[in-house]
Amino acid sequence: MQLKINGRARDVTAGDVAGLLQELGLDASRVAIELNHAIVLQANFAQTPLAAGDSIEIVHFVGGG
């Protein structure tokens, strides 16, 4: 199905947020997620389903400060 990820259309196979992060190769402990403009807590990634057309913003943090 197609999602809008950080403003860009992309086809993915994952059905939930945790699966999407795995598919994108991102560490779930290092991201902040908004799904359709609502914050998704880390604890809920695996229980948050995705639907075609969803808009998801992923901020992926790298170390250094």
């Binding site: 402990s29 290092r30 914050i39 807590l41 880390q42 992926h60 943090f61 250094g64 400060g65």
Partner: protein, 268 residues
Amino acid sequence: MQIMVNERTIEVPAGTTLFALRAQYKPQADLLIVNGFPTPKDQLLADGDRVALIRRGEVPAPEEMEALLMARHTPGVHEKIKGGTVGIAGCGGLGSAVAVALARIGVGRLLLADFDLVEPSNLNRQQFFVDQIGMAKVDALKANLRRINPFVKVATYHGRLDRVNIPQVFGVADLLVEAFDAADQKALLVESWRQNFPDKPLIAASGLAGFGPSNTITTRRVGRNFWLVGDGDSSAGPGQGLMAPRVGVAAHHQANAALRLLLGEEPA
């Protein structure tokens, strides 16, 4: 007309010039600042002008000190930010530089939190001194800020931040600057803050290691009340260190975003 001289409002006749004002209030002044900008020449003053009369090398009287520290500000800025409270989570390369910048401009209150001690490898980028090695970073930074601007109130929390204490430590802040080192700690702080205070701004940073170009570091809005500074990519790790110039570029992006938010402006 009314003129503000070294932060005192005085009544002067229309047509009063800068040099006439100096002759009356501080004849020995050799640095004259009008509305935030040094002015070597005499000029007519206008109602509402702010004038700082400074004698180079002289330590001002206590009642004049605060006004003279702020004499180069854009007029009106100091009054607005003096009532502001900024939380700074982490007092390393980012947080110590953000704190110094915000203290210099006279943000009213800073809340500093960090668990760590000053150690030698910090000094290539963090705003501490060799003689502070071994001190808690929050204590060393508080001492340094006091030397820069004693009018800024500084509260400290020496300990690790977690989901429970983040709202307690920073609850009174108008906005938060995320200045951690570890990526998972950044994510945890961002989540906790946005969950507890969705209406308060957050300025995080990610991607500022190494010596890549300065101009790849940007400030961008990544969510509601949420801004991200950095290149998004340059992580600290083996082969890529953290150094004062680029960490400082990112820190000052964060500090300027905080200033803009306190002034009611969009950071980006």
